[in-house]
Every structure is written in structure tokens, then in C-alpha cells.
Amino acid sequence: MRPEILRPEIEHDESVPHTHPEPGVDPHAPLPAATRALRVGIGGPVGSGKTALVAALCRAFAGELRLGVVTNDIYTTEDADFLKRAGVLDPARIRAVETGCCPHTAIRDDIGANLDAVDELAEALGPLDLVLVESGGDNLTATFSRGLVDRQIFVVDVAGGDKVPRKGGPGVTAADLLVINKTDLAPMVGADLSVMDRDARARRGALPTVFQSITEDPLASQVADWIRHELAHRSTVTVPPDAAGAASPGAASAGVGSAEPAPRAVAGQAAPVAALPVGRA
Amino acid sequence: MRATARLVARADGHGRTVLPELRGESPLLLRQVPAGDGGVTVYVVGGAAGPLAGDELRLDVEVGPGAVVRVHTVAASIALPGRPGPVSRMLVRATVAAGATLRWLPEQLVAAAGCAHVGDAQVDVAEGGTLHWRDELICGRHGEQPGHAEVNTWVDLAGRPLLRQSLTVGPDVPGWAGPAVLGGAAATGSLLVVDPARPAEPPAVAGTVARLPLAGGLATLWTATAADAHTLRAYLEPPTENRSWCGGAPPEPVSDQHSLAGMGG
């Protein structure tokens, strides 16, 4: 069940996927084996709603996935504090990375501090299913290194102007998922969602784009579903049954659950999105 | 001028400390003064002005198991220029046995204009020994720039390196007065406290004094800079059971601290 707001009422080709293309036309790089958490980067310009999206995903995955968050915001502790205040994620599951005023460097050219933070989360918390890496607010040229994340989401908002998708840049054109955020503001800022949709398709080819308003969909359902789909489609490895516990980082998608997750037989099953449980509150 | 002095302290088995050896020579004379608590207090009495460039002074201190020794100086040492060329040197070697206590709390070293002085301290503290070791350096007499002064503090605890610190000031030392080293402060110093009876303390900072738990054992270093000797001393008074910060309450935050906090936004 998708909130209706998520797609603008425009001429609409249902064959263009909103979440993920068919396996045969998957434009993404192969995902790594499920020996560790899936790492998903969330980038985008300042103020586009990255932190709000992270908070929504934390809410959506509560009780479903073992989640960690690494935040790179320039004012590092502010993002972490936002998540703490929102009560959506245990502070122990958040790591902040200082970027020395170079947010793009920390996620693209010199990723060690972020990789350290990901490692520290796993060391402190045991195996995780998903780590969200939020970039510091930057401009349209920022992208994540494939050495840091497996998938990246680029967030732009309608208030930034409906020409943003046309401007392109590696985030808009190449992110695995483009999120056009704050659609509820479109009438107020005079943004034409159909223009944004058309330009995004032109820029992105088969790569998916979602329209979203966290105000109206506090669980960011489309993005959450997309991540579930990516998790389910990672290539899997044979994890010995007795290694699926906390001692093994290889239990990534085998142990999907809450704070004390019960192992589930997801590994090896390329479950369709619709078959995955949706963690609605 | 060359001079050596030696101080050997032992516990007498009745709760008192005795000095089987206490000898010195000018300008390094040692005087024991009465102390009421069983420990001994020894003053280093400068027999002449100095140290002067060219002086070679050496003091050995050996504190045996259970003995308690305090060492003070009667006045600040003023390192002065002497014959051109050589430096003045003051070497202190101390050993502190298990259960022994050495409180080395001399007055300041003042690096006068034109001086060339090297102070070396090499201290070995056995596991279970207690040490208070204070170094204070005043960069120049009032209103003058200092000569070259180097204060080297090498302390081992239980046979492991605990503290290695060389502080060097003077006209030939790049950046010593600048914002990375002393920031224009005329006085700087540190107090090392090794005390097995004292609980570990977390790091803390207020203005220009910091409390630093060391890596090599249960030991804490207070390090400070200050505008003058008096302020520095307030930062570096040895702590007592009831005073975590040296000199009582944490020093009042100086403007420094406000600007640090202000950076937050």
C-alpha cells in the first residue's frame, strides 16, 4: 500500500518502475554478498531533507532491521542529536564523522573515517542488517564512493526549484534512487512535479525516482520498500546455521528483526518487494 | 662550576624517614629542616647566584621503600648568562621505591635574558611509589625575553616509560612563544602526580590548565600556561584528597574558554 502522494498526477507510464527495475534490466552494480550490513548512502544538497529521511527510515525499520547510522553533517552532532531527540534511534546506533569542512571528500575521495565508523558500529553492536550513511549537506556534484556504500540515494527537494533534475550532476543522474522530497510544498513554491518527473526520467534512464513527503508519509514508505528490495536481492552466501548469531558478521540478512532479532530465512531468497513485511507502525 | 649533591632516604622501621646520606657542595647545598609527620623535608640552598652558563650541577635522590621526602628550594633559580659558549646544566636523578614518596616541589626556574640552560630530570618510580613532580619555567625576568632554556623530564613508572617531555624556549627556538606552544604566556609548567592511592581522573580543561591522565600507568599530569608565576602556581598546587584540581577549585574560566564555547555554533 503506497501513500498516494508519492507520485505526481501526471501522464504516467506504469512500465517505468518506481522502486526497482526488473532483474533482467537491473542497471545497478552487483551487490556484495550478505556477509555484512548493506550500506546505503543518503546524499543531497543542504536542506533537502536527508536527516528527516534517515529519521523516517529509522521509524520504518524499527523492530524489523538491525540498523546503524553514520552521519557526516558538517555540524556533526546536530544530525545525531536530531535523531536522538526524535526518539527514533538509540544514540548507541549513531556515529558522527567530522569532515573538516570537506563533506564530499569524506564520502568520496577519502572514506576511511566513514569506514571506521561503520566498523565501530558493528564492533559495538554486533552484526547489522543495514547501515545508513548520511552525507553532509553539499551540492549536486557530491556522490558516494562505491568503496563506502553499496547503494546510494540522492535527495533533492521541490523547494530547491523544479529545474534541479534537469541540472543533473552525478547525484541526480547516477544515484541508485532519486528522491524528490517535500512534494507537499510544491504548490507553495510553484514547482511543477511533472517537469521534475520528466527531467528525472530523461537524466536517469531506467534508474528509479520517487516523489515523497515525509510530512504526509512519516515512514518514507517507498524508500523503505526500495531498501527492503535491495536487501532481499543481495547475492547471498551460505552462512552456517551456528554462525548466524552475534559472533558472525555474515548474518547480515539472515537475522532480520528487532533489538533481539530472530533469524529469518531470508538469505538466499530473492523475495519480491511485495512479499516483504512492511514495518508500518 | 661543577657541583654534585646526593640525598638518600630510608624508612627507619618506626614510621620515620632518616637520611643516611645528605651531602652537597656549593652552589648545590642541601639542608634538612624539621618536619612533624615522620617524613623529611630538604631544601636545596643555592650557595651562589645561578646556575651560570658553564655550571654543571647534579643532584641524586634515592628514596627507599617506605620513606617520605619533600624537596623544596629556598628561592627561584635564575639561569644567567656566563662565559659565552657553554650552557649551564642541572641534572636531577631520582629513584622512588615501592611504598616511598617523593614530593619534588621546587621554586620556579627563571630563564634570564641571554641564558643557556638545560635542566634534565630522570626519575624512576617503582610500582607502588608515589611522586609529585613540579616544573615551572618563567620565560625571562620581568619585562625581558628569555635566553635559551630547555627543561627535559623523563619519568619511568614500573620500568615503563611514563612521561617524556622537553620544553624549550628562547630566541633560537622556532614558534615557542606562538599560538602552538605558549601563546605569549610568560609562565608555563606541569605537575606530575603518580599516586597509587589516588583514583584515576578523567581529562579536564579550564582556560589554560589541563588535567591529563597519562597512558603509562595510574598517573596524572597537570599542564598549564599563565601570564605570571603567581597564577601558574595556583594552577599547579598539588591536589589533596578533597581537591581534584590543583590549587582548589578549577581556575576561573578565562576569555579563552568563552571563545572555545562560542565556537560551538
Partner: protein, 227 residues
């Protein structure tokens, strides 16, 4: 002596070992009002070079010397303890180990055949200068070159942070670095000579404000730089 390009690669601020996120105390010095312009930055860099720069370069060169020695593991352990004893500030120790861990991550991936397992296993990671010594060995640098990389990083890291924090004119800052090049080389040469001594006799040049700045910085709720 290694090919010059290898030296340049290791000294490059773009070498992925996290340098961009460290100001080496400059962020705190700026906040305290001690570094405000090009002149005070110059004083800061000279002081850093003579203290932390000399110590880091000497330890890096010593670790590089140990890299091909038979007692390498024991020497590295001694160097680790000696460097701890020269780093009174817990915040500075943590930063050095954090940077060492970042450099080790890069070294392991770039030189997979090199052995880094003799570095002391410590909770926060190996000290940066020790790691640099072994990475330098993997790259074929000699101790003097490793010391040059360390001394160079001491000044360029803070200078780059100053450009970002104070908005200084990058040409003027680069001109300052050019003026400091001789001091940088002299520091590296001195460090390389000192590295021939046993670990306990390596330089221990201290800077009270470095400790004070580092501890103040560590208490901030909000930081732009990791150090």
C-alpha cells in the same frame, strides 16, 4: 632512495588517510583567538613543526628503520610506549591512533603484500607515525623520506585547515608554506638523525597549548574537524 613519485604520492594530501578531517589543533587555536591571520598562522606552523612535527617525524623514521630489522615487533612496541609517554593529552593519543588506523586501512589495501601485523595491537589503533613508518617501508621510502612526509604533513594539514576555517588567501598560505619549506626539511633531517638513537632517546618536544587545545577541542559538542 625510492622513486620521487612514490614520495609525492605519500605526501599528497589526497592520499586517502583522512588528513582532510584533521586540523592538528588549529580549529581550537582559532576558536581561542590565538590564530587569526597569516602571521599568527605562521607562528602556529613554526611551533608545530618544532614540537609535534619533530616528534612525529622522528618516530616515523624510527619505525621505518625498524621495518627491516629483526627485532621489529619489539622495537615497534617500545616506540608505541615511548610515543604514548610523549603524548600527555589523552585526546591527542586518541587522534594519533585514529589517524594511524586510517592510514593502516589505506596501507593494507594499497600494499596488500606488505606486513603490518607487527604493529602493536592497541584498542584505538596504532599510532600514526609508527604506521607511517611501515607504510613508508612498503612504498620503498627511506627513513629520511618518511620523516619528510611526516614533517610536511604537520604544516600542510594545519595550513589547509586554516584556509577553510579562516578564509585565508590560498596563495598567501601557499607562500607561507614555501617560506617554511627549509624549516620543514631541516626538521625532517634532524628527525631522521634522531631516529638512529634508541626509542627512549627520541625527541620529546612538548607544547603545553597543544595539550590544552586538544583537550578543549575534545569537549566541544560540535566540531568541524576531528582534531
Amino acid at each position: 632512495m625510492a622513486a620521487p613519485t612514490m614520495l609525492l604520492l605519500l605526501a599528497d594530501g589526497r592520499f586517502p588517510a583522512g588528513a582532510h578531517a584533521h586540523s592538528a589543533g588549529l580549529e581550537a587555536a582559532v576558536a581561542a583567538g590565538r590564530v587569526t591571520d597569516l602571521a599568527t598562522l605562521g607562528g602556529y606552523l613554526r611551533g608545530r613543526l618544532a614540537t609535534a612535527g619533530l616528534v612525529a617525524a622522528a618516530f616515523a623514521a624510527a619505525a621505518r628503520r625498524a621495518a627491516w630489522s629483526s627485532g621489529r615487533r619489539a622495537t615497534l612496541a617500545r616506540l608505541d610506549a615511548e610515543l604514548d609517554a610523549r603524548t600527555a593529552s589523552p585526546a591527542q593519543r586518541a587522534v594519533s591512533r585514529r589517524q594511524g588506523r586510517a592510514l593502516l586501512r589505506a596501507g593494507r589495501q594499497i600494499w596488500p603484500a606488505a606486513t603490518f601485523d607487527d604493529l602493536p595491537v592497541t584498542p584505538g589503533g596504532p599510532h600514526q607515525p609508527l604506521t607511517l613508518g611501515l607504510v613508508g617501508a612498503a612504498a620503498g621510502l627511506d627513513p629520511a623520506q618518511v620523516a619528510t612526509v611526516a614533517a610536511h604533513a604537520t604544516v600542510t594539514g594545519s595550513a589547509s585547515a586554516a584556509v577553510r576555517l579562516l578564509g585565508l588567501d590560498p596563495y598567501q598560505v601557499q607562500a607561507l608554506l614555501v617560506r617554511l619549506a627549509g624549516a620543514c626539511d631541516a626538521t625532517a633531517a634532524r628527525a631522521a638523525r634522531a631516529a638512529e638513537e634508541p626509542p627512549e632517546r627520541l625527541p620529546a618536544a612538548a607544547a603545553p597549548l597543544a595539550d590544552i587545545h586538544a583537550e578543549a577541542h575534545a569537549t566541544w559538542e560540535v566540531r568541524l574537524f576531528a582534531s
